[in-house]
């Protein structure tokens, strides 16, 4: 019988065969898997002693599998290299993201922040139960025994944990297992290179959802409306019928496209290209990028929709008007596609019980369940999600419309529902059918006093809201303000007196979404280029100027100052010149502080990125090498898009179509990246995204230092030549 003790922990446990599984019940209590049906575990110990971590966050390269495995390995006193991992199934009650509420999802750089206690607790409980089982067997006190590398020993005896699993599963689940003291950690903070997903990805064995093949499956490609809001009137598939392998075509119930079914991927693409569709564009977007920009500018000329920080706007304006120095600048940011390396895809398969199973690099398994429940009229419990590796996501695999899941599920619903259906996007589909980083226009005025202190900052942003109209609106929108539109401006580490932050919601021309670092992807650029301009106008060194505006008595200010000083020191900030030009930026996002110094040279009057030095404070560094890799990648992401990334529209249609005209960062574009981690005892914070925001402004500030040119319109390529 299950009894609930104080603090709601389950005290009784039942063995589940020879596998000891540990997890949390929906109320957050530890319990045995076999005990409650809905419970699925965070770790398993098998009869042969193998320990498997159950990873509840999508592994898309950001290192979640390695990170969560490290926590289990630590508490079980084993090497990270000896643990296996599995992806968790869909079960929001068990695997919810504690920071998001009752949804199972990966995003906002939360994987480690939300799992740090949870996975250690599960590991510690397993350790105590295994030891208790041995103690009982040998009739000794548990305190006299120790667990190390899968062996429990003491009292002159030793036994493998595999042999104890059955007994351990019968032990009481400790109400509050004792976590190891940080001074005893050997895996957390270990600089080893031991990614758990490395070998599979090196030998071609890793299963991405693109690699799914099920017997009898149909492959679907979709001809989508080229303009947001277009609707299918009719289609003609007579030419498609000449394609060997073409099965049939059908209009999606929402009218947003025509699904083309075929025997294999190539036939699906060929048949889709051969299809002609007549569209109703009467309600479709018709603007081009220039018109959209003009609309944004008109919004900035007018009254803002929101006074975000309830500032006395007139007083701030008056302060700036009366300042010794006044700077004023406009910044433009284009639409950007995520274009993860793996084009979007997913597979759905009918189950005997009337439910379905998705095979998906699922960023939000809860979304799969909701979509299937709605479109197929089944219950969420009938929806299984097999999570596979994602070939990058950067935010793309989850959005307010669940776009590709809806498409796939509709395409499946239109069949007789007896065969699996696999949806595959081409790169062209990806570039033209994005849920883009929104366009944004910022206008800023800054007032400085004689001593080079900022005394007023007026900031108006016009950009479409990501969250309004999405299922996440309630969580992310306060008093009409979508926090993702303005995050990183007034809530940064700087002490800026007299700030007036204003926001105007722009009309969407495309679907828009979070994109690695979300609002910070543009706000950090504006903040850090303005800080540089202000430093220059004051005749103060850019690092010193920033330090002057960081309150070292505040947590925010001191952590930002620390990374700033460290990055400057490691980059040799004091030794500029000799053809090296350095630019700096510091930013806080996802509770992580990162400063970056970009070093460039100017061969043949072009810009070459020679080196980037970063300093990071992300709390406890669970896997220092994964953190370094994430920052290296995030810097490449930030700089690459700032250099060349731009999606534009012509009469409502996306102009770019594939990598040749949405040119990604390539190997020769960027030199060495040197990442330094600040030691910390604070809980871990985000790391997948925070490296991105400071990257582009550090580059821009280096270019300004080298050439005097201040780039305020992205991408940089429209006004700057890069070394090739």
């Amino acid at each position: 019988m299950t009894t609930l003790s104080r603090r709601g922990f389950l005290q009784t446990a039942v063995a589940s065969g020879a596998v000891l599984t540990l997890g949390f019940t929906p109320r957050g209590a530890l319990a045995q898997a076999a005990q409650t049906q809905q419970l699925t575990p965070f770790l398993k110990v098998a009869g042969d002693g193998t320990v498997t971590a159950i990873v509840k966050h999508l592994e898309g390269g950001q290192g979640a599998a390695t990170g969560l495995s490290t926590l289990i390995a630590e508490e079980l006193n084993m090497q990270l290299t000896d643990i296996r991992f599995e992806m968790a199934p869909a079960n929001a009650a068990v695997y919810n993201n504690l920071l998001f509420g009752p949804v199972q999802a990966t995003g906002g750089s939360t994987a480690m922040a939300n799992s740090f206690m949870q996975y250690r607790t599960a590991g510690a409980a397993a350790r105590e139960m295994l030891i208790a089982a041995a103690a009982q067997q040998w009739s000794v006190a548990p305190e006299s025994l120790a667990l190390k590398e899968g062996i429990i020993s003491g009292d002159g005896k030793s036994v493998s944990i595999g042999e104890l699993v059955g007994d351990a599963a019968k032990m009481d689940v400790p109400a509050e297992p004792t976590l190891k003291d940080p001074s005893e950690w050997t895996q957390i903070g270990n600089p080893q290179r031991a990614r758990r997903d490395s070998s599979d990805k090196i030998n071609g064995q890793a299963m991405f959802s693109m690699d799914v093949h099920l017997d009898g499956m149909l492959v679907v490609a979709i001809k989508r409306t080229p303009r947001m809001g277009g609707v299918v009137i009719s289609f003609d598939d007579s030419a498609a019928k000449d394609i060997n392998g073409f099965d049939h075509a059908a209009t999606l119930p929402n009218g947003a496209g025509v699904a083309v079914y075929a025997r294999n991927t190539w036939a699906a693409f060929q048949a889709r290209d051969a299809l002609s569709v007549e569209w109703d564009f009467s309600k479709a977007e018709a603007r081009g990028s220039d018109e959209i920009l003009a609309d944004l500018r008109m919004q900035l000329d007018g009254e803002p929709d929101y006074n975000v920080n309830n500032a006395d706007q007139a007083a701030v304006a008056a302060t700036i008007d009366g300042a010794a120095t006044t700077l004023s600048q406009e910044f433009y940011f284009p639409l950007l596609a995520h274009s993860p390396m793996e084009p979007i895809n997913a597979t759905i398969e009918p189950l005997e019980n009337g439910g379905v199973r998705y095979h998906d690099g699922a960023q939000g398994p809860t979304a799969n369940q909701m979509v299937a429940a709605q479109i197929l009229e089944i219950s969420p419990e009938q929806v299984e999600v097999k999570s596979l590796y994602a070939g990058g996501f950067f935010g793309r695999r989850l959005n307010g419309g669940s776009d590709y899941l809806v498409e796939l599920t509709m395409a499946y619903a239109l069949t007789d529902r007896t065969r699996p259906v696999k949806l595959v996007w081409s790169r062209e589909d990806d570039v033209t059918g994005g849920w883009y980083r929104p366009m944004a226009l910022h206008r800023v005025r800054v007032g400085l006093d004689d001593a080079g202190k900022i005394i007023g900052w007026e900031h108006h942003v016009a950009t479409p809201s990501i969250f309004k109209g999405s299922p996440f609106e309630e969580a992310m929108v306060r008093d009409g303000v979508d926090s993702s539109s303005i995050e990183g401006i007034a809530d940064g580490p700087y002490t800026i007196p007299g700030m007036a932050l204003m926001l105007s919601d722009a009309k969407k021309a495309t679907t828009v979404n979070w994109w690695r670092s979300v609002g910070h992807s543009h706000t950090a650029y504006v903040m850090e280029v303005m800080m540089d301009l202000a430093a220059e106008a004051s005749g103060i060194d850019p690092v010193e100027f920033r330090l002057n505006h960081l309150d070292q008595n505040s947590d925010d200010g001191s952590r930002a100052a620390q990374v700033l000083k460290l990055a400057a020191e490691k980059a040799g900030w004091a030794q500029q010149g000799d053809g090296r030009s350095l630019g700096v930026a510091v930013h806080k996002s996802f509770n992580t502080y990162i400063a970056e110094v970009c070093e460039i040279s100017t061969p043949d009057d072009t810009i070459r990125i020679d080196k980037v030095t970063a300093a990071v404070d992300c709390g406890i560094a669970v896997n220092p090498d994964v953190i370094k890799a994430q920052v290296e990648g995030a810097i490449g992401w930030g700089m690459g898009h700032a250099m060349r990334g731009e999606i534009t529209l012509d009469k409502g249609e996306i102009v770019q179509s594939n990598f040749p005209d949405y040119e990604p960062l390539r190997i020769a574009d960027i030199g060495a990246i040197d990442v330094h981690i600040v030691p910390s005892a604070l809980p871990p914070s985000g790391i997948g995204e925070p490296g991105t925001p400071p990257a582009a402004p550090a580059l821009a500030n280096a270019i300004a230092r080298a050439t005097g040119q201040r780039i305020t319109e992205l991408p940089m390529i429209s006004s700057t030549d890069f070394y090739l």
Partner: protein
Amino acid sequence: MDYTVKINGATRQVAAEPGTPLLWVIRDELRLTGTKFGCGVASCGACTVHLDGEPVRSCQTYIEDIEDAEITTIEAAADDPVGAAVQQAWGELDVVQCGYCQSGQIMSAIGLLRETPKPDSTQINDYMSGNVCRCATYQRIRAAVQRASEILEG
């Protein structure tokens, strides 16, 4: 049409339409999924395989043009000493992030080291510039190519 394909030391029969890119024959018909689809237009290198030891973009190589050539994919890369060294170096340096581009990166790196056993970073940049990594693992790729070169030197 039926074609005979020599791949990873085996001879296989496949049915495919003329004009089908080798990429889709390898993935959908032969079910070797280590070779990846990234762009379909020879712009990303994710689909790189070897044809008689030379890296090619399988998305732009057509089934009817293969004829007698020996195809090698990532699944058999370790059978060759250069391939094994590259894979070892990739592992030592934990190059991968999402991993989706890495089969192609590795197949290109093998081609580079066969041609230039001790490449400097400019030579690496030049040779590898057709391989996109959206996770931007580039600096580790550079280091791993050099590490593989060291391993091969013994």
